[in-house]
Amino acid sequence: MEDQDHEGKKILVIQTHGVATPTRTYSPLFYAMAAAAMEMEVMVWFTMDGTNQLKKGEAEKVQLVKDSNVNLKTMLEMAMDSEVELRVCQQSLELWDMQPEDLIDGVDILGATSIIDLSLSYDHVMYF
């Protein structure tokens, strides 16, 4: 495998899975953090079921490894600490009867047209 340097590339991660499927929640964030560590610009876009993990009080309940000090909330916080940008779909909030004030801190809301612009402007899109 050619070992290229991809610093400066832009990665968009789309997360459609939420708290009902815990084993599908960590990996997209882990990949996002890996890309950020490699000096890429990374955004995670939460839509569909993915939206509900951003509701205050929900992510803390998702823990893959028993007795670990890591849960989905800490994963989201670690991603933000790594300068991964978190965005949520405006229309998906309604699916879960969520208001903007229900969101954890650090998450911005964008409309559906933005996802089209973003997916075209980023270098690569990873869809989960």
Partner: protein
């Protein structure tokens, strides 16, 4: 070798530390240094599975990544404590990233770098008793768990 343990974490007094980024620097000559992760850093990351270093010849400004490391629970950059060019990488890490856990200050070194202005870089770091004091404060402030013993830890008792 002069050293101190803070909450079980080994701090070698003859090295220079960027405490925020948890990296150390060992001076090789007037402008060349070896760089690695501290005992605190490897302990926080957990057993490392992969370490991917930047290539020889890569120019780095202070704070830019010289490598990325990942464990089962962590992935993140190793940020350069100096500005300069990578002149040598530790090839052994590509097959055994755990060397960083076992021997963070010796066999687990990450890169060597030719610095642009070593004295300016060293002015941003701490060494000796100042490093020990800085790590005491960091470990307390961040509530860092006790370090597990590293290879040859008895050398540091």
């Amino acid at each position: 070798m002069a050293h101190e343990k803070v909450n079980g974490c080994v701090i070698l007094k003859d090295l220079y530390y960027n405490v925020d980024n948890n990296t150390w620097v060992r001076i090789i000559d007037d402008s060349t240094v070896a760089v690695g992760m501290t005992d605190v850093a490897q302990n926080l990351a957990g057993p490392l599975l992969h370490a991917k270093t930047k290539k020889v010849g890569t120019g780095r400004k202070l704070g830019k990544p010289i490598a990325t490391v990942e464990s089962g629970k962590y992935v993140g950059p190793v940020k350069s404590p100096v500005t300069g060019e990578i002149t040598k990488i530790n090839d052994a890490l590509s097959s055994d990233a755990g060397l960083i856990n076992k021997s963070p200050y010796n066999n687990g070194w990450i890169v060597e770098m030719k610095t642009d202005d070593l004295s300016a870089d060293l002015a941003t770091m701490v060494s000796g008793d100042d490093a020990v004091a800085a790590y005491k404060e960091k470990i307390e402030r961040d509530n860092i768990q006790a370090c597990e013993q590293i290879e040859g830890a008895d050398t540091y008792d």
